[in-house]
Symmetry: C2
Subunit: 292 residues, 2 copies
DNA sequence: CGTTTTGATGCTGACTTGGCATCATTTGCG
DNA sequence: CGCAAATGATGCCAAGTCAGCATCAAAACG
C-alpha cells in the first residue's frame, strides 16, 4: 500500500473526473487511471462506479475516502510531530526534584522562561533525594535532576551549579533570639532542636551533626524523624523547637540566622546525562543558564 | 511515503535490531537498513540513535512509532471496512416509508430477518408520501421506498408487491354498526365522516371520494384535514365519526368492515432504483422476498 | 587476537511508476 | 445525422524504486 495512491484516490474522488484530478496532481491521466485500478485490485473492491460517461464513488469508495483522508492527515501529523520532538518543541521531560529546590528563585524563573518558549513540552516531576536522582539519571529514568546537597555527581553526568548556600538556625519569628542577627553557639546551648529523619535525609543530617560537634555544639535533639522541610518548618513555626536548615529556605513567621562558626556548604545543581544529545534537554539547560 | 516503510520501521523499533527485524519481515538486512535511512531522510529527522553497538529509538522515533502503528491499523481497517461495505455487511440504507406501511406485518418480519443477518447495517428512515419517494429514488436521495397506494412506480424503478389491500369502514368497536360483518351504503348514509387532509393524502382522498360517489354514496364529511392515519384512528376511537381506511389498519377499540360494492385497491410495494447494483439494497430485497 | 555481532555501502536485476500515443464509448452541437 | 469534444482504458517504453548479494567497518566477547 502506497500513500501516493491514497492521495491520488482522494483527488479523483473529489473531482469525480480523471482528467481534472490528473491535472491537479500534475501527472498524466492514464497513469492516474492505472493507479486507481491498482488500488482497487489491492483492496479487492471497486471504489468507483464506471458509468457510461464518467465515474462516481461507490459505497465502498465513500467509506474508503473517509479513511484515506484520515490516513493522509495522520501521516502528515506524524511527520510534523516527529520533527517537533526532534527540535525540542514537543515532548516530555522527566525532571527529578529535591524538595529544597523549590525554595530557590532560579528554579521558578527557569521554568517560567522555558514554558514561554516551549509551551508544548510536558513535564513529569519526580520528587526524590539527590542520590536517587543520580541513579535515575544513569539508568535513564529521568532526563534532568535538581539535586541539592554537597554530593558531587557521579561520572558520566554533567552539572550546572544554580545556587550556593549554607546552613543556619531556623526559629519562629516570635522567639527571643529572632532579634539577633547572628547567633552564637552559647545562645542555643540547651534549646530544644527538631531533627530531620536520618533515613530520608541520610548523610545530610549526619554531616550537619558532625559540623555542629566540630564547633563544640551538641544540639539537644528534642523531636526527630521529620521527613520533609515543610514538616520541619511547620514545627518550627509552632514553636516546638529550633532547626538547622539551609539559609535560603523561607517561610512566613520563620527567620533563619547564621550561627557563628557553623558551616556546611550546600549547592543546588542541575544535573543531566552527558551523552544525551536531546534538544529538549539542552534547550532546558540553555534556559537555566539564561535564568541565572 | 510508503506504508511498507512504516511496517519496516515498526518492526525495527520493536526489535531494536536490524537483523532480527529483517528476519521477521523476510527481507535481507541491508534492504531494511536502507529503507530506514530513506524513511529518516524523507521525514527529515533521525528515528534511531546509532549507538556504537546497535540502535535505540530516538525521541522523535518514539513519537513516530505511535503514529506509525495507528496509520497501519487505520489502513488495514480502511480496507476491511471498504470490503464490508461492498459486500453489504456494513453501511447505511436510506429507506422511505409511507406511514401505512408499518401496519403490514411483512414490514416487521423483513426488518427482523435483515437485522439478524446484517447487524452492522444502519438505517435512516424517511417518512414521506409515495410520490415523494419515487422522486427521492430517482434523485438517489433514498435507497429503498415502502410505497403505499395505487400509483405505479415511474420508469427506471423496480418494485416488489408486498401486500394487497382494499378500503373499508373504520368505526369505534362500541358503534352500533360494529356488530355487522358487512356494511351497506344505506347503513352509513348520513353518518358523520372523518376525512383525510386533501393535501397530505392528495389524489388518494380524491380517489376514495370518487369510488364512493360511483356507488351512489355521498359521504357526509363532518371533520376533515387529518394528516395521518394515527390521527384519523384516534378520532374514530373517540367516536367523532367514521372513516374510510385500508382494511389492514388495526388499532385497539376500532373495527374495520368492508362496505358492499365499495372498492379502491391499494398496494404496499417495496421500490428501488433499477440500476443500483448495491449489495446492501439487493440483500434487503432478498430478505423481503423471504419474509413474505 | 580472532570470532561474533551489528549496522552500512556498492552493485545488479526485478518490479513499479509515469509519460506518450492511441483506442472506445458517449455526449453535444451544427 | 455526423463530427468534435469529453472521458476513461490500454499498450509500450524509459526512469525510478526496491530487494538481494557480497562485502565492509566497528565494537564486543571470550
Amino acid at each position: 500500500m502506497n500513500m501516493r495512491r491514497l492521495r491520488y484516490f482522494v483527488a479523483v474522488a473529489e473531482e469525480e473526473n480523471f482528467h481534472r484530478a490528473s491535472a491537479r496532481l500534475h501527472i498524466a491521466q492514464p497513469a492516474l487511471s492505472r493507479q486507481i485500478r491498482l488500488l482497487e485490485e489491492e483492496l479487492g473492491t471497486n471504489l468507483f462506479l464506471r458509468l457510461p460517461r464518467g465515474i462516481t464513488l461507490s459505497r465502498a469508495g465513500i467509506s474508503y475516502l473517509e479513511d484515506a483522508r484520515q490516513i493522509l492527515r495522520l501521516s502528515e501529523q506524524a511527520r510534523s510531530r516527529a520533527i517537533a520532538v526532534e527540535s525540542g518543541q514537543l515532548g516530555t521531560l522527566r525532571v527529578g526534584f529535591h524538595d529544597a529546590a523549590h525554595h530557590y528563585p532560579v528554579v521558578k524563573s527557569t521554568f517560567k522562561s522555558f514554558r514561554a518558549d516551549f509551551p508544548n513540552v510536558h513535564f513529569r516531576f519526580i520528587s526524590s533525594s539527590s542520590q536517587d536522582q543520580f541513579e535515575a539519571l544513569t539508568t535513564n529514568d529521568i532526563d534532568l535532576g535538581f539535586v541539592y546537597g554537597w554530593e558531587k555527581p557521579v561520572s558520566g553526568l554533567q552539572h550546572l551549579k544554580l545556587a550556593d548556600d549554607d546552613i543556619g538556625l531556623a526559629l519562629s519569628s516570635e522567639h527571643p533570639l529572632a532579634v539577633k542577627s547572628k547567633i552564637s553557639v552559647d545562645d542555643i546551648r540547651g534549646e530544644p532542636f527538631l531533627w530531620a529523619d536520618t533515613v530520608s535525609f541520610r548523610s545530610h543530617s549526619d554531616a550537619i551533626l558532625r559540623a555542629c560537634t566540630a564547633i563544640g555544639f551538641n544540639p539537644n535533639i528534642w523531636h526527630q524523624g521529620l521527613t520533609s522541610l515543610e514538616a520541619m518548618m511547620s514545627m518550627v513555626e509552632s514553636g516546638m523547637g529550633l532547626a538547622i536548615i539551609p539559609n535560603a529556605i523561607r517561610s512566613e513567621n520563620i527567620v533563619v540566622r547564621p550561627i557563628e562558626g557553623l558551616s556546611h556548604p550546600v549547592e543546588l545543581m542541575l544535573v543531566w546525562h552527558g551523552d544525551s544529545d536531546s534538544s529538549v534537554v539542552s534547550n532546558f539547560i540553555k534556559h537555566t543558564r539564561l535564568a541565572m
